[in-house]
């Protein structure tokens, strides 16, 4: 449905002729639906004006960042936040950075490294917005989710500008809980249906100490960038264990000892994907690593603040791994591969090679909770993948899952993928069924309640939270112009 000419003009007067388009030719670039228009606001004031116009004309809108994911109903106003790409502030003293939505993680991280700082890079990859809330490789030290969103600037569905936390009472961004209004419970951008309606226009992300180099010494050409040397006081290793229980013993021990910069429960398939430059190499490497591992395992990076600190961390790591019967994967001890995977995990946050390269699409079930519990669920979900692998519907990764510790293992995340071809509707349908069934099983067997699970059953079991959330959304968005639907990636 096209906008009426006068309505189009109203939007145009906000963002300028160059920054609005309703030509059908551009729509497939974004999504398979046709939108009423795509609008590129350049700042918060323009976002606010666009939102107000949407309310005036009862037009539904959705914002996007780099456009990697999201669900978009047809005929909406799509707000592409691409022009809002500034790093507003890096506050080294109070350890936060304020960014606009189209600053990607790679940009912010590179700036932070120069200052001896880092932040939580989300699993979606450093090619996605730095504002994204979620989890990633370095959660062990950089935590995840709302822990890292400090104050936020939010244009509500009605077009009011709300500044949360410390920003609500001063011009500082250091705290999400006050002294201004703490509205953490409704400011979420990670998982539907909890996606806050409206638009986040700025966020302060929490910064952490970075013991590594100000810039990695990269050599070679794409796609095979290597490190000319492993940075001082850093090491990456993959350890496999005789059993899940043993792996968990080591994981919890390492968390307690607080020696790992990163602890990522990669499976052999994901290691292979990350260190190889094409699908064929990937498959051969997967077969090789599969033979080399003795069982489940994880990948760790240690980073010392001094040679002594590094030596201590290394010693503790090796002792804990040894006690649990862990074995280092020899292939990854090759400094070239060690450097590649170190960069993949820190600078890229892996992602594309391990998700999209083989088939072009993937579906995932991500879950938070205690790792030992969620691993048990994931083993079953992995088994349930095997019939799909046998039928050739999904990529053969041996039924693998993965996961990692958050905040030195106080929390954990477990995730499982199915990778398939987007051109194969049978595969897509089979994967969606698998996803539904495994979410249901998770709930029925009381492992966790996924927001992708059977909502009609989960809601009542959890104090009808979904109804309360709907009421909150209704109050925030009386005109129903800002639907839920996907993360801000």
């Amino acid at each position: 449905m096209a906008l009426k000419k006068d309505v189009y003009k109203e939007f145009e007067s906000v963002v300028g002729e160059e920054n609005i388009c309703d030509d059908p030719a551009i729509m497939p670039a974004y999504y398979s639906n046709k939108f009423a228009a795509v609008i590129l606001p350049g700042n918060t004031a323009e976002v606010q004006a666009v939102v107000k116009l949407c309310n005036k004309h009862k037009l539904v809108f959705r914002p996007i960042c780099t456009g990697w994911s999201g669900m978009f109903p047809p005929d909406i106003i799509l707000m592409d936040l691409r022009r809002m790409n500034h790093i507003i502030e890096i506050n080294e003293k109070n350890m936060y950075a304020v960014v606009e939505p189209y600053v990607i993680s790679s940009q912010l991280q590179a700036e932070l490294f120069k200052r001896g700082l880092n932040f939580c890079i989300k699993g979606a990859g450093t090619n996605c917005t730095a504002m994204l809330r979620g989890h990633g490789h370095m959660d062990q030290t950089t935590s995840g989710d709302d822990r890292n969103h400090l104050a936020i600037e939010w244009v509500t569905p009605e077009g009011d500008i709300v500044r949360s936390g410390a920003l609500g009472s001063s011009d500082e961004w250091f705290c999400g809980d006050g002294p201004g209004p703490s509205i953490r419970s409704i400011l979420t951008s990670a998982v539907p249906p909890g996606v806050t309606p409206g638009v986040f226009t700025k966020a302060a992300v929490k910064l952490y100490h970075w013991p590594g180099p100000s810039e990695f010494p990269i050599a070679g050409h794409s796609p095979k960038y290597v490190l000319s040397e492993i940075p001082a006081n850093m090491m990456a290793r993959y350890y496999s264990f005789p059993s899940v229980e043993k792996m968990w013993q080591a994981e919890i021990g390492l968390g307690e000892a607080e020696v790992c910069y990163e602890l990522m429960g990669f499976n052999a398939a994901m290691v292979a994907a990350n260190i190889t430059t094409c699908n064929e190499e990937d498959e051969a490497m997967f077969n090789r690593l599969n033979k080399e591992v003795q069982g489940p395992g994880f990948f760790v990076i240690i980073a010392g603040n001094s040679p002594a600190d590094f030596a201590y961390k290394k010693k503790v790591l090796e002792k804990i791994v040894e006690e649990a019967g862990g074995k280092s994967l020899k292939t990854l001890e090759d400094p070239e591969l060690e450097g590649i995977i170190m960069c993949q995990c820190i600078r890229i946050s892996a992602s594309i090679r391990e998700t999209f390269r083989p088939g072009g699409a993937f579906n995932s079930i991500p879950i938070m909770g205690q790792r030992d519990l969620t691993i048990k669920w994931a083993i079953g979900a992995g088994e349930a993948k095997k019939p799909l692998i046998e039928k050739g519907l999904i990529v053969d990764d041996g039924g693998a899952f993965f996961g990692w510790g958050v905040e030195q293992g106080h929390l954990g995340k477990t995730e499982i993928f199915c990778k398939y071809s987007p051109s194969n509707p049978t595969a897509k349908a089979a994967v969606e069924t698998w996803q539904r069934e495994q979410n249901r099983r998770a709930f029925e067997e009381r492992y966790f309640a996924s927001t992708m699970g059977p909502q009609d059953e989960i809601g009542p079991a959890l104090c009808n939270y979904s109804q309360w959330w709907s009421k909150v959304v209704k109050a925030l968005d009386p005109n129903g112009v800002s639907p839920e639907g996907g993360s801000l990636v």
Binding site: A25, T66, H86, G125, S222, P223
Partner: protein
Amino acid sequence: MGLEQYKGDMEMCCRCSACKFIPMQKVKGHQYAYVCPSISRYNFHAYSAGGRLNIGAAMLKDGMKYTDKLLDIVYNCQLCGACGVSCNYAMDMEVLEPINEFRIKCVEDKKTHPALDKIIANLKKQGSMIPGAKGKRGAWAAGLKIKDATKEKVDVLYHVGCLTSYDKNLQKLAKATAKILQKAGVNFGIAGDAEMCCGGRAYQMGYPKEFLNQAKKNMAMIKKAGVKTVVTSCADGYQAFKVLYDRFDLKGELKVLHISEYIDKLIRDGKLKPRRKVEMAATYHDPCRLGRLGEPWVHWEGKKIPGDRFVFDPPKPYRRGANGVYEPPRDVLKAIPGLKFTEMTRIKEYSWCCGAGGGVIESNPEFAKWTARERIEEAVSTGAEALVTACPWCEKIFNEAIKESGSSLKVYDIVELVEKAI
């Protein structure tokens, strides 16, 4: 086959946006992280490679739906290939090829750009890319005692290229090249008035027939002259002879070198000695078609293996930009005494385009200059006084942009500096 052959590639696009940026490990900060001029200038996702592929996939499925906006997207792309390098860091799929095919399809459907039509009409008539060019193609060589390769036996044919031959401001590059080759004692010649456009730029513009026509004429002339080695001083010419002629099975055993590679070899062989000091701080711009797109063509034929993965039998080799010409021009510059060499952030396979490619300098000079200005700013940020390139099209657009912006940066072709140094 056309666009159809890239259906699977286009469907592989996951809209990850990596193609908008230089490879993630190479990002050095907030600045100079973008790599695609088109999305950087026009902002709508449709102008990125990912957007283009998704549009291509949709139109392949539902039919071509031409609008003015679609054509604006199609023709505002330098076909620079930076998107492909960034995508192919992680993905196995063709990126630039379907973008180029989409443009070819537009031309086939007569949805052309008037400025490019004019260029092509002139190409057919005069055999050059420079409409309105006056005088003879080989006139610049008058009095320089250069052999006519169509009449005398030479070891090396210097293919001068359209812009360098006809543009009064750039003929100095041809003269410098000739002087260097003479000084090194190379038995070389030019085809003079018999030289024709290589056709490479026609291919980028979406006119493969016209390209092939030029390619065939050139190769016939080369065969007749018995030439075994061609040296070009234009990156477009280099890519045409080296990559495109090979792709279309026209190159045969012809050895193709860019002048920077040839000079590098002459220096290594001790035939050329840059002795005079050239005191300046300079940075080097990798022309797209000498760098990432100068990577040799890899002949391949195969079929997708049915099933879950996008893999082929035999395995498909992707040209990911690693094998372009990167070191020879740098080595030449480093061999010049007194020259202080600095690097920009976006270099080699992930270099930012000068703006002139893909017919953009003709179809949308403002966008071409905008793109050039971005590069000029990056060059200035290194502290360099001079921006050195290895293609006359880069030099032309950089100088035009500098003239408008008032920057004090100087632009040189690599041959100009070598000429000063010998």
